[in-house]
Structure formats: C-alpha cells, structure tokens
C-alpha cells in the first residue's frame, strides 16, 4: 500500500436465505447515514434503487447520487476488489453481501487484501425460520456455522415478530454462538462500524437509530451512546491489553487509529465488532491524531465508557 493511505474497512453481511440481507443492503444504499458505502452484491437484480437516486450505471457499477456505489461480484473476487480499490478516494467503506449458503467469516478474509481492512462479520437471522433451518438436514450445519462464526448477530423482522419468537431465537443463539446478539433496527454505525476519520473525532455524528426490515420508516432517536477520545500520543502495549480485557458491557463497536510506543512510526488499528477485538498494524503513521471512538447500546453509562477509553495511555 502507499504510505499514508487509509485502508477501506470491509464488513461482510451474511445470513441464510430470507434473513433480510437484501432489505438491509437496499436500506443502507438509500440511507447511508453520511457514509459513502460501496456495496458488493452477487446479483444487481435484487438491488432496488429509486430512479431518482441513480447517478450512472455501467455493466459492473451503479453509482448513486448520495455517493454510494453498488458493484456486482464478478466470478473473480480479487478483480472486483481491485475495481473497488479504484474508487478508494470516493468511498468510506465496503460492504460485501455473502450468499445465503456462504460462510461470512471466510469471505471476511478478503478484508486483509491490499487496500482493505476487515471490519466485522455481521450475520442476520430471521426469527421466524431460524429454529427450523437449524435442524434442516441439508442446511442445518451451514446455518449454525454462519452464526457461530459471526462477530455480531442481528435478529431481523423484529417489527413483526412476537416476544416468543424473539426470546426463543435469542435462547437458541446463546447456545450456539459467542457473538454479540442484537435486535434490529440498528444504526448504520453499529452494523458497519463508525464513520471514523481521525480529524473528525469532535464532529462525530451521534449514532442514529434507523429501521431496516419493516419499511416503517426511519427513527431518529440518538439513543446509542457514542463516545470518542483523542489520545496524547503513543500509548503503551500493556494498556491495550488492559483496555481489551476491561471492556464494559454494552460496547458493540469501537475503532481506534493509534501509535503504540514500541512501534511509534506505524499506525496501529484497534477494532471491536460485537464479540471480537482485533489489533493490527496497517501501515506507517501519517498525519493525524491518535484517537478512538466507541459505540454502546442505549442506556450504557457514559462515565463507564469514558473511564474505559482512558485506559489507553
């Protein structure tokens, strides 16, 4: 990679047929919440874009007036990523739709490709069918593996599901996955990761609660807790360890671009998506400030989050 360039965060969205992936992707394209998202799908046919939103279309790429693009995944995924990389200056992140029988955690490995960084494995679950799918002789093992290897599981269709279905689904998920389990609707920043640009820390928009899957419109409650902090300079390696182990309940996403004192010239990336934490180095440090941002569930005490972020020093 070129020194100083920022890698595009790549989030994969999985889930068996009918889990709500297409609905979610269509919603993200129409309501990107200030992020310019490149969505990679297998089939353009499923993408439903309002004609007024469409800016231009070629065989491989649809461009939207809101800055988002939609690419079809050709038979050669490496080539598709190269194409997307060509748009790197114009987009903020990448979302890859995994086929209904695909294993999202395997597709997520493409996030390590040059120019990208992996940003979470999100698996959607339909509360009406998941329990029967899980014991289906053909696909039961596939469905279980999808949620077992997720970082974040999102239960869809919460607007029409009853408490019984939701609780039964959650109970089942508790037994098969260590992933963080949340109910839709969720803000874009929780689903895909925060729109993180180091210099924007002070202007980071509050996470908005948006609805996907029910078509009942967008809710504007800023009820997820977002907190960000600028660091004073390189932090110590042990403090990262402490920070990782002291994570308060309720934290669902975090991202930091920092320098660590044993590698002061490199950019170290701290990342939390649901149940997983990743610490990586993605290139040399460039201009910018060491900073970290976290998003937590509604009701999480702000003071606890402040204390937690202060552990990084």
């Amino acid at each position: 990679m070129t020194p100083g360039s920022v890698r595009l965060p790549l989030t994969v969205i999985g889930g068996y047929l009918g889990a709500g992936k297409t609905t979610l992707l269509n919603h993200l394209l129409a309501n990107p919440d200030g992020q310019r998202i490149a969505v990679l799908v297998n089939d353009f046919g499923e993408i439903d874009i309002d004609g007024r939103l469409l800016d231009s279309a070629t065989d491989d790429v649809l461009r939207l007036a809101n800055g988002c693009i939609c690419c079809s995944v050709a038979d050669n995924f490496a080539e598709t990523l190269e194409t997307v990389r060509g748009f790197a200056e114009r987009i903020d992140r990448v979302v890859v739709e995994v086929s209904g029988v695909g294993q999202p955690h395997k597709v997520a490995q493409w996030g390590h490709s040059p120019g990208f960084s992996p940003d979470g494995v999100v698996v959607l679950v339909d509360p009406f069918s998941i329990l029967s799918r899980a014991i289906d002789p053909y696909v039961g093992d596939t469905v279980v593996a999808q949620v077992a290897c997720a970082d974040l599981v999102v239960i869809s269709r919460t607007d029409v599901a009853g408490a019984d279905e939701l609780e039964a689904t959650e109970a089942w998920l508790d037994g098969v996955t260590g992933a963080t389990v949340l109910r839709a609707p969720l803000p874009t920043a929780v689903l895909l990761g925060p729109a993180f640009r180091p210099l924007d820390v002070d202007h980071f928009p509050p996470a908005r609660r948006v609805d996907h899957g029910s078509g009942s419109g967008e809710l504007q409650h800023a009820d997820h807790v977002t907190i960000s902090r600028r660091l004073d300079g390189p932090i110590s390696r042990p403090s990262i360890e402490t920070w990782t182990q002291s994570r308060p309940g309720g934290v669902v996403r975090a991202k930091g671009l920092v320098r660590v004192n044993d590698r002061p010239n490199d950019r170290t990336v701290l990342q939390i998506c649901g149940s997983s934490t990743m610490v990586s180095v993605d290139g040399p440090w460039d201009d910018g400030e060491d900073a970290v941002v976290a998003i937590a569930l509604p009701g999480t005490p702000r003071a606890a989050l402040v204390k937690w972020l202060n552990l990084l020093r």
Partner: protein, 627 residues
C-alpha cells in the same frame, strides 16, 4: 448457412427456373467449397507447429497451393478415401469397413476402398493405412486452462506431457523443484517478470516443509509464485512477500507463520493467495488468454479429443471472450467446443437476464463453437472435504462440505435456463448434493416439462442406485469422474469415505444398468486430459497402490468407448453431428496406433495416439520430446 441447408440445396437442379435467392446460395456454396478444398489440399503442405509466444492461430494454413486446380464440374470439394487398419464406427447401422470416405468436412460413407472410389470417385489417401480410427473423443467436462496452465513451469510430483509434446519429469525432491525453478528463472530476461509455476504437491513429502526458504535459493529479487496442484494453495518467496507487504503484521487466515513470526510463504485459499497482488492476478489472468485456447487445441489433438466442453471457465457475457472462441476456432482449429457459461457467479443481472443473453448467444453458434449451455455448482470436492455427503459423512470426521447453491434455491436458479430451452449441467460430487439437485429438477420438470432436456449431473461421484433411478425418471444424464479411482482412489479408501463407499464411487456400471445416459471425464486440468486414461480407469478401477476399487462397477471397453464418444455427444446435444463415424456427421476421428478393442484392457491408457482428424483435416499430435 449451416451444412444441412447446404446439402439439400446442392441437390436441386440448377435450371433457369431457379429463383434468384437459390442462385445466390449456390454461388456461395461454390465459393465456400473452393475455400474448403484449398484448405484441405493445403493441409498436406503445412505442418502443425506449436505456437510461439506471439503467434496467431498455428493451425491456420497459409499455403495457396491448390488454387490453380479448382475441382472441375463439382460444386463441392473432392472426396478423399482413407483406408485404415481398423475402423470402429460405434454406430451399429454402419458396422464396419476398411475405409472412410470424407467430403466437405463430413463423413460421406464407410466401406471398402474400391467400392468407395467406384461410387464416389475422389482420391485415396494412404496416410492412415496403419492406423485405427474411432470417432473423435469427446471430453464432456474440461476447462480452458487445460492449455493455459502450461504457460507456467510445472513442478508436480508425477511426470506430465505439455501440449507441445514436451515431457516434464516429475519433481520428486525439493532439490528437483528448486532446480526446475532455477532453470526457468534463467530463461526470464525481464527482472520484473514474476516466475509462475504450478503443480506443487507437499502431500508427497509428509513431515517436511517446502516454503519461502527453498524458493529464496532460486531468487532473492524476482517474485516467485508456485501454485499447488489443487490450485487452492500457493507458495511464494521472500521477494514477493516484501513487495506485497506480506509480513508479521499480516493477520489474514491462511498465512501460516514460522517460529520467528514471519509468514512461511504458504498462502492457503484464494483470499490469502490474492495477497500476492498482481502476481496472483496475472497467474489466473493468463489462463484466459488466446494462447490458452490455442494450447487447449493442441492438448486435445494429442490425446484424440476432437470436441471438448468448457465447463464454466469462460465468461460468455463478455463479448471479447465470445469473439476469442469464435475467431480462434475456425475450420482449421483441431477442436470443437461446447461452451458452458458459469452462471453461479456470473449472472450479475439475475438468472432471467443471463438466460436471455445465452439464448441470443446460442444463435451465434458455429460448426466449431456451440453456445446455449449453462453450468451451475451445488457443492465442492470430496478430496477437499467440501462435497456435501449424506450420513454418515466423511470418514475423517471433518464437517460436512459446503453448498454453493442453497438447496431450496436450486429450482429457482435452474428454472430460467430450463424454461429458455438451455442445457444445464450441474456440478454435484456428494450424494447429499445430488439429493438436493434431484429435488430441484423434479420441481423444474414438473412446472415446465421438457421431454428432451438432457440436463446432466457432473461428477456424480457418490450417486446411489436410488438416485440413478430418480435421474432416469427425470430424464437426466450422468457424467462420472472415473479418473478419481486412479488419482485419489487410495485417499478415498483410507481417508475420505472408506473402502466400502469408495468401491461404489463413480458407479458407471450401475448408471448403465439403470439406463441413465452416461459419459465419463477428466475435469482437466484437475486430472490430465485423455479419454483413453478415463476409459482405462472405468474399465479397470485400479488405484496406484494396486487395489481394485469396486470390481462390480467396472464397465466393458465397448461401454467406455461409447461413453467418451456418443455418450458425451448426447449430453452436449451434439450427437447429431459428432460422436460416431456416421455418414453426414462431421469427419472427426481419433487416430490411434493400436486398437482399444484388441489390446489388453489393462493397457488401454498406454495406446499411442497419432492425432486426430477434425472436419476431414488431419492433425498430427505434437512430436514428443523429453526435455
């Protein structure tokens, strides 16, 4: 104008009442036949050479000899009679003869030399007098990179012969691999050009590790990328890792590290291999080149194959790819191709739109390149642990494999192609994948019955008698992967499914007994292209360790020969033009130096192949060299 119109038009008397349009057609016929005559005549002058790096079609004849002697009083090309040592027509209505008569690129008749000359005139060509003729072999499951892979240096354990006839000795030691790569390194002038190799198989060196350390002894400056035999792994050197930033910070799965924390150089699966950046892309890109198609033709000719199916390796929604095949495969090319579009991954606007594009493309089929076919995949491979198996699953206890199409979506995906009248061939290795596929075809056929669809299950390795009965009921065909008994037979017995299920794999006998139309294939380049080897495997079912893997599933030589000719032609919907030595069909022959019906069946795969006749033109195989 196709050839059927041609022959019927030519029989009409050219009277003054002949309508203007017919005259035009006759003129066209005359010019076309002149051209064909010229090409056929010139074929004797030219010798087939292997393409150089920048060559155009090496099969194209450039001689203009023959133009001064156009056939007088004959609107078509002359008849040539080829006597042969033995002719197996594989057509019971044309049982035997000592010679074939060929005209206009088609078989005219089979009979005795004198009789053929008396009736049809023409000349006698004695060049095949000591050869054995069979219908040209049809490989119903292969891939475009069969040829293109030989652009790279071969470092596999077993000896193999490239399309140009060069014997690549097996690299049985680390040193042999390194020596082979050093030699290739010396032949590259540009220091920035990566060294690309393939065929490495560490399974033959248990307990030892071939990694960047060995490759670094070849070059510390040139990027080296060595694909393993299964194409799912690669080993690269330190120079490549440095240029692409593969280092201790690389967190991707499939990048194992040594005790020092550095990646070993092994890149496992495609996301990890893609870390090799441009080198990775050029490796897989070059298998799509014109060169690749040309070398595919050479490889086919060398093993008696006159028609191949390209199963989903060419993106037929890309006009450049379509043009590539149509342009290269002219009447001087030694091979016909049935092209299958890989719709699993390449249907960006959905299956209905893809089906519609394939219907349009079908109209552009030529005598040599057939469109209108689609490939789908249900599961992975048995040796890779990714095929979907019924209970009790894998002997090694690994998880069941992967679905590439969701079982409850299969009917929806197949439907648009079926309704459009396209031919659908679907990859299904494991028995559970076949169950799901049969459910889907049951739905599709019930909703839109097509009496003669010829949809085929590809590989069909673990298909049970019950499944074959369902296939029969649904009118489906089976193309079994008979070469597996040789290439992975011992592994299937010991590791993947155990000796009892292994004995029932690729159940050609069962398929035939139940009445399912059968072919058998190599899946080249997964195993080497060569129908005689495939037939040998199905007839003998012998593993490298000498075990017989299911004697009860053996077929006869006659059945195997039928499977790799008419059986395959039927599944490609081409049995009206290829697959047997039958008058009116294309004059496509496998030209052999020994008779498959005479040799010991255990030696079927050792029969020397002289080459082929394709559309009446002789194509001698590449001279075999031992480099």
């Amino acid at each position: 104008m196709n050839s059927a119109e041609w022959s019927s038009a030519a029989q009409r008397p050219p009277t003054s009442e002949v309508p203007h349009r017919l005259l035009e057609e006759l003129l066209l016929i005359w010019t076309t036949s002149l051209l064909r005559y010229h090409r056929q005549y010139a074929a004797d002058e030219a010798c087939v050479t292997d393409p150089g790096p920048n060559s155009t079609n090496p099969y194209r004849r450039t001689s203009i000899l023959g133009m001064s002697h156009p056939p007088v009083g004959d609107q078509a090309s002359p008849t040539t009679v080829f006597p042969a040592r033995a002719i197996h027509t594989l057509d019971s209505t044309v049982p035997s003869g000592s010679a074939i008569a060929v005209k206009d690129g088609r078989f005219l008749a089979v009979g005795e030399v004198d009789e053929l000359v008396d009736v049809y005139g023409g000349t006698v060509d004695h060049s095949l007098a000591d050869k054995v003729l069979l219908p040209g072999f049809v490989e119903a499951h292969s891939h475009k990179d069969t040829g293109g892979i030989w652009q790279f240096t071969y470092v596999g354990f077993e000896a193999r012969r490239g399309p140009n006839g060069r014997l690549w000795r097996g690299c049985t030691t680390f040193d042999a691999v390194v020596d082979r790569l050093r030699e290739a390194d010396r032949l590259l002038d540009d220091p920035d050009e990566p060294l690309l190799a393939w065929g490495l198989d560490p399974i033959f060196w248990p307990g030892e590790r071939f990694d960047r350390r060995q490759l670094d002894t070849v070059s510390t400056t040139r990027r080296i990328f060595v694909a393993h035999s299964n194409m799912h792994l690669a080993t690269v050197n330190s120079a490549l890792m440095e240029q692409e930033g593969i280092d201790p910070d690389t967190l991707a799965e499939g990048v194992p590290k040594d005790d020092s924390g550095w990646p070993t150089g092994e890149l496992q699966e495609f996301p990890a291999m893609a870390l090799a950046g441009q080198t990775f892309r050029s490796f897989f890109g070059r298998t799509q080149s014109d060169e690749s198609v040309l070398m595919f033709g050479q490889a086919a000719r060398n093993v008696g194959v006159t028609t191949v199916a390209d199963l989903g390796t060419s993106n037929l929604l890309d006009e450049a790819v379509v043009r590539q095949w149509i342009d290269i495969a002219d009447e001087t090319f030694p091979m016909r191709a049935a092209m299958f579009h890989g719709a699993l991954m390449s249907a960006p606007d959905g299956d209905e739109a893809c089906a519609s594009a394939m219907v349009d493309l079908k109209r552009r089929s030529t005598d040599r390149v057939r469109f209108g076919n689609v490939k789908l995949l249900m599961d992975g491979s048995i040796q890779g642990g990714t095929a979907r198996l019924r209970w009790p699953g894998y002997l090694h206890g690994g998880p069941n494999g992967i679905w590439l199409i969701a079982p409850d979506q299969a009917a929806e995906r197949i439907g648009p192609y079926h309704r459009a009248g396209l031919l659908v061939h679907t990859h299904a290795n494991g028995d559970q994948a076949v169950d799901a596929l049969l459910d889907a075809f049951d739905q599709v056929q019930t909703a839109n019955p097509l009496p003669d669809h010829r949809h085929t299950i590809q590989h069909c390795q673990m298909t049970t008698p019950g499944q074959y009965r369902r296939m029969k009921a649904l009118g489906m065909c089976a193309n079994v992967f008979s070469n597996h008994t040789w290439f992975w037979g011992d592994q299937h017995r010991a590791i993947t499914v155990g000796p009892d299920r292994a004995a029932r794999m690729n159940a050609a006998r069962t398929a035939l007994d139940i009445g399912v139309p059968l072919s058998m294939h190599s899946d080249s380049p997964v195993t080497p292209l060569g129908p005689l080897h495939v037939a040998w495997a199905a007839v003998n079912r012998q593993t490298p360790k000498g075990e017989i893997m299911g004697e009860h599933e053996r077929v006869t030589v006659a059945e195997a020969m039928h499977a790799v000719t008419m059986g395959a032609a039927w599944q490609l919907r081409m049995d009206d033009v290829i697959g047997s030595i039958t008058p009116q069909k294309f004059a496509d022959c496998a030209v052999l130096d020994a008779d498959p019906f005479e040799v010991d069946p255990a030696e079927l795969r050792d029969i020397p192949v002289w080459g082929t006749m394709s559309g009446g033109v002789l194509h001698e195989g590449s001279p075999q060299t031992d480099a």
